[in-house]
Subunit: 269 residues, 2 copies
């Protein structure tokens, strides 16, 4: 039995990281957990988020995974230190890899971060960037409607609602002179074409899920834990009914999903 | 100690019912519970909703209330029979009162219902209306973005995002010839000015929270349980941090809120 890599998020967003991870390491088994009974995470308090995150992580302990990718910008921002303390295997979130990448590619040192309310409120991205280079100018913007529009299918390139909301949230960033924008929530790559069109050329976007996937891949290779043969299998777990998840998930992953199972994370049922 | 009336919802929406109830019975104490750690309810499965609803109701048992208003269209649609069985005091949801009112005022027998995915999927409003008059034509439309836009402050009368989404969801209803529209989710009255403007004159809107408040008021008077003197006090409980709740709640209620307390509903912490 090949040990899997665990990837989790509040809902669908983390699938953007699964897609990257599968592309980088097609032989690996991946177990995905979407806490769809409690999505969205981005508007919750730190205390609530830490409680949810611990339950998410405990699920992977029961699955005996070899590494965990926290494919949720909010949990990565708010709860990663707590999760690192309790996790016996390698665990990485999306904040640090995205900050590193942004620091590498910025030319003018002006970096914008877009993420959920909770992520922005935590200041995690800003702290990571300043720790790399205290001279960076960091522009932070919470975009609380981005997750609902993605989860409700308002993400087509010409969708007028999505266009208005993108303009609403990103005008400030466009005007700021930032040359690099971190997509600090794993739902946001779904809106990438709209964001690129609005911001125009010359601004680099950093996909935080993709950068985290690269980091996990590097760790697994360095630790000589990668699968050298066979084909990886992806298994998906959700906390609410799978039916609502599958259709959108296939759109995110751009492939058919074979199996989605329902799982309970809390102790009250 | 005056026994209170319990009112609950997933988040802020049920406050529209609190406002009505306070206007009808200003001497009553009202305890409001918003399950803000798990909002929104409208996209969850029936099984998950019943679990959440039981926990919400058990909170009121501990508060020893004299009646419960389920100010959530989704729970009223999906879980009310289960809640009625376990509840020792009077309990009413928003579906039946709204259906009764719509049946009274429709002239052409064409009634539209707008609500969350879960409410529409349950068919509860349609069943209630058909039980009153099987000849009614019922047009049902799920509006899953209405709760997120309200919870994120996109509800000003001229808000372009709200206008687009209202048009997106209600064009079908406008074209259907319905003369009565049930606002089947307690968040929706916040969008009432936008909905009225889009639908135009000659279409009556039924506010499900308001109708439920009237029903609870009537029960309390008939049972001679009303407060005859003094001024009622409203106490607000939420399951996530109160800070995010208070500002929007004051906007909903159009008055200052004195006290918001945090409470835990599940057994895992």
């Amino acid at each position: 039995m090949k040990k899997a890599i665990g990837v989790f998020d509040s809902g669908l967003g983390g699938l953007t990281a699964v897609k990257e991870l599968s592309a980088l390491m097609p032989r690996e088994n991946i177990i995905y957990l979407g806490d769809t009974a409690r999505v969205p995470y981005g508007s919750r308090s730190a205390e609530t988020l830490i409680r949810f995150a611990k339950q998410d992580l405990e699920f992977f302990f029961r699955q005996n995974v070899k590494a965990v990718l926290v494919a949720c910008g909010t949990i990565s921002s708010v709860a990663l230190p707590v999760l690192k303390e309790m996790c016996p295997v390698f665990i990485e979130g999306v904040v640090s890899p995205a900050a590193k990448r942004a620091a590498q590619i910025t030319k003018n040192g002006k970096i914008a971060v877009i993420a959920t309310n909770a992520s922005i409120h935590s200041g995690a991205y800003s702290r990571e960037l300043k720790a790399i280079n205290n001279g960076f100018t960091v522009i932070e913007k919470a975009c609380p409607m981005f997750v609902p529009i993605v989860e409700n299918g308002y993400f087509g390139k010409d969708n007028p609602v999505a266009k208005l909301i993108v303009k609403d949230y990103l005008s400030e960033i466009k005007a700021s002179g930032a040359d690099t924008v971190i997509l600090g929530c794993t739902h946001y790559p779904i809106l990438r074409p709209l964001i690129e069109e609005f911001l125009g050329g010359g601004i680099a976007l950093v996909d935080s899920g993709m950068e985290a996937a690269k980091e996990v891949c590097e760790h697994i290779k360095n630790a000589h834990e990668e699968q050298l043969e066979g084909t990886g299998k992806n298994t998906y777990y959700v906390t609410d009914e799978p039916s609502g998840f599958t259709a959108l998930a296939e759109l995110f992953l751009n492939k058919k999903i074979e199996e989605v199972k329902k799982v309970s994370l809390d102790d009250d049922n």
